[in-house]
């Protein structure tokens, strides 16, 4: 399930599976006996990135734990669409308590397992960006600080989708939400300081922190697997586009996530004990416009005419990520691609 060392030229490492790979080299999602931890019949919207990300991550954790896994879930879309009485889509032991306490609930589960000598059973906490970066932040930080044996997975769709697309502290600048209307000199969300949860997690010095997107399954699975190899607090932050909240077609979910990564707006990397150990390089750097334009939440940046100064500010954010995380290594066939992006944004 890890990323392959050998280049696989028909499809490289990007497809979910491949008949040409040895079974142990295939992804969890390629396995016909995968856990399908989040089963059919759930009520997520068409093309839901969170439903996809959750199954990817939890199935990978299931494989890593040999099926000995318990999940705690914050309130949010994932919880609501998966467990409306009388139907649950979860096939693993699962608990939902509150919006802001999932990290603590998971801590409690881990404590119980430890006391009972069930060290083989592993604990995952999962929440959306609201439950993670806002209301659940205190409990999460406490869990990190104590280094409780929990893998926390944040499914980041950059707003409160369950309540009707309101701004969270993970909402990107300029994005339109129900509480960041497109009026005034700074339409959409303000350019704040941001709240970089993976970095905050790293600042706790916990054993493992990683970011991933639903566009790169093998990377995501490798990270969950790596996370499961550690004991203590671990944090995996997965970008999961929301067709409804972002204003994209249901079949664009993966493409949009890919663009978020390829523009540098969502850096994909991993860190151990507070230090970055690996970054996923951009295959070919793309202008942020390619990412922004298909999304209705950014439509005001292009209509009635392009707001160049805003797009440029966003490009600067991407450029900063590319520089800060070393996201790009120039190769002969796309020399100058990065300069082209920089020239438009003098940064």
């Amino acid at each position: 399930m890890s990323t392959q060392p050998i280049k696989f030229y028909q499809t490289d490492t990007f497809t979910v599976g491949n008949r040409l790979l040895a079974p142990h080299e295939r992804s969890v999602q390629a396995d016909p006996r995968r856990a399908n931890a989040l089963n059919c019949g759930h009520r997520a919207c068409q093309g839901c990135g969170e439903a996809l990300g959750a199954r990817y991550a939890i199935d990978a954790a299931m494989r890593a734990s040999g099926g000995r896994l318990i999940a705690a879930n914050a309130t949010g879309c994932l919880e609501v669409f998966s467990t409306p009485y009388p139907e649950t889509s979860w096939q693993i032991p699962w608990i939902h308590s509150l919006f802001g306490n999932v990290a603590a609930v998971a801590t409690g589960i881990a404590a119980a397992l430890k006391v009972k000598g069930q060290g083989d059973v592993r604990v995952v906490a999962q929440g959306g960006d609201g439950g993670t970066t806002d209301i659940g932040f205190g409990c999460l930080s406490g869990m990190f600080e104590r280094n409780d044996d929990v893998l926390y997975i944040c499914y980041d769709n950059e707003a409160y989708m369950n309540t009707g697309v309101q701004r969270s502290s993970a909402t990107p600048p300029a994005a339109r939400t129900a509480t960041t209307a497109v009026h005034g000199p700074e339409p959409g969300n303000v350019f704040g300081q941001g709240k970089n949860l993976p970095w905050i997690a790293m600042a706790h010095g916990i054993p493992y922190v990683a970011t991933a997107t639903v566009a790169d399954l093998r990377d995501l699975e490798a990270k969950v697997q790596r996370a499961m190899a550690f004991r203590g607090a671990r944090y995996v932050h997965i970008l999961v586009p929301c067709p409804l909240g972002w204003g994209t077609a249901p079949d664009e979910t993966i493409r949009i996530a890919r663009l978020a990564k390829e523009t540098g707006l969502f850096p994909v990397y991993e860190a151990e004990y507070g230090e970055i150990t690996r970054t996923l390089k951009l295959r070919k750097p793309l202008p942020v416009e390619d990412y922004l334009r298909p999304q209705k939440r950014f439509a005001h940046l292009f209509m009635p005419e392009p707001r160049r100064e805003v797009i440029t500010r966003i490009q600067r954010l991407a450029n900063r990520n590319i520089r800060r995380f070393g996201l790009y290594e120039e190769r002969p066939w796309d020399a100058g691609a990065l300069d082209a992006l920089r020239s438009g944004s003098d940064a």
Binding site: G67, R68, L69, I70, A72, N73, E79, V80, S82, T83, P84, Y85, P86, T88, W90, Q91, I92, P93, W94, I95, H96, S97, L98, G100, N101, A104, V105, A106, T107, G108, I109, A110, A111, A112, L113, K114, V115, K116, G117, V121, G138, C139, S141, G142, E145, R146
Partner: protein
């Protein structure tokens, strides 16, 4: 074994005898000595296996307890006052999920103004949260109630809150009978959860329930509390057989059989009340006492049974339902529906104000003469109140009420200015 010890220490040791497997602690006065003692017991290895988790808030404390309980561990926490309010969302959640967590509430007032002393405002704010709420009259009862609480909660799959008066009990040293481990083990079987997070038998706990079933879920929670009305006296009786003393139960009547006037109260103030009643009885006043141990479930039938033959009922309570008056008295009145008698609500002891025998005696005598206001504030400084009210009438913006009052009373006037 009889020992001279602090109430908090006693409760901690009693809890430890119950073999809790997860203890969540966030410090708040006057609960601190309890969790400190438990932390020490765990750290020293005398309470094992047990995870003692220093959490970052009361909200986390209750949440960790929820997780631990759902995963099959016997979970305990303790809090007070603001801490209880900070965990409220999780308090309701634990009850809704039916997780038999036991929590000590070292009762304390709620700010603002911030106040660390005892009253029942904190617990009373949670009277409808779905927890079983037991009020200890003495430290011996506090100790004993914790042992019963685990048994009761786990039988019914409901969380239990054991309330003990902050400082008055928690910090008081007295001679207490500490049971042996063997006694507690015989009384309290290992926790067998009704639902548990188990990979070999997975379930989803905490579903979203819509209008089609929500009322039924709520009714079932109510029905469980009604079952507790039967289990609480039964357990108290069993406890008496095992441990040789009366502790717990739904209510504690005292000299009530012939009483024309019955004083109703919860918690440690019952001791002072009983002393006062003894004095007045010596003078020929037919006054009795009804202590309520189980505030939730509220023992309507028992309360009615003990009160319906009295001429008057005086409910002395350490909490105030602002805008209406009493909380306990409101509940008592439900029990007395259709019964014609005089009912008085006495708000006393707020924020740690001492409730003296002298004041109580005067109160009871006034009550006997039916000379009490329906809602009486015991030992209220009317001068200070009236000055503040006067100022309010004169100036619409007269500044913070609490500070003005303190200045009027002259307690901290110099320092505040």
């Amino acid at each position: 074994m009889l020992r001279q010890m602090e109430g908090s220490r006693a409760v901690a040791e009693a809890v430890a005898l119950c073999r809790p497997e997860a203890i969540c602690a966030y410090p708040i006065s006057p609960q601190t000595h309890i969790v400190e003692a438990l932390g020490e017991l765990v750290k020293a290895g005398s309470l094992s296996p047990c995870e003692f988790i220093n959490v970052e808030s009361e909200f986390a404390a209750m949440s960790v307890a929820i997780g631990a309980s759902a995963a099959g561990a016997r979970a305990y926490t303790a809090t007070a006052s603001q801490g209880l309010l900070y965990m409220v969302e999780a308090v309701y959640n634990a009850a809704g999920l039916g997780l038999p967590i036991v929590m000590t509430v070292a009762n304390r007032a709620i700010g603002a103004p911030i106040n660390i002393w005892n009253d029942h405002s904190d617990a009373m704010s949670q009277r409808d949260c779905g927890w079983i709420m037991l009020f200890a009259e003495t430290n011996q009862e506090a100790l004993d109630l914790h042992i019963q609480a685990f048994r009761l909660g786990e039988e019914l799959s409901l969380p239990v809150m054991v309330c003990m008066d902050g400082f008055i009990l928690t910090h008081a040293y007295e001679r207490l009978d500490m049971p042996t481990q063997a006694q507690v083990d015989a009384f309290l079987p290992a926790y067998e959860p009704r639902q548990v997070l188990d990979p070999s038998e997975p379930v989803s706990i905490g579903a979203m329930v819509g209008p089609e079933a929500f009322a039924e879920v709520r009714y079932l929670a109510h029905a469980k509390q009604l079952q507790a009305l039967e289990r609480i006296p039964a357990l108290a009786a069993e406890f008496k057989r095992a441990f040789g003393r009366d502790s717990g139960g739904l209510v504690h009547p005292y000299r009530i059989a012939d009483a024309g006037t019955v004083v109703v109260a919860l918690g440690s103030v019952l001791g002072t009340i009983k002393d006062t009643v003894d004095e007045l009885r010596a003078d020929g006043h037919r006054i009795g006492v009804l202590g309520i141990t189980s505030f939730r479930p509220f023992p309507l039938a028992e309360v009615r049974g003990y009160l319906e033959r009295a001429q008057r009922v005086v409910v002395i309570e350490k909490s105030l339902a602002v805008g209406i008056g009493g909380i306990v008295s409101t509940n008592v009145r439900v029990a007395l529906s259709g019964v014609h008698l005089h009912g008085y609500t006495v708000i006393a002891g707020l924020g740690g104000r001492a409730i003296t025998r002298k004041s109580l005696a005067k109160l009871m005598l006034d009550a006997e003469r039916d000379a009490l206001d329906p809602v009486t504030f015991l030992d209220l400084d009317w001068d200070a109140v009236n000055r503040a009210l006067q100022r309010e009438r004169e100036t619409r913006r007269s500044g913070p009420l609490a500070e003005a009052l303190l200045r009027d009373i002259g307690m901290v006037g110099g320092r505040i200015a």
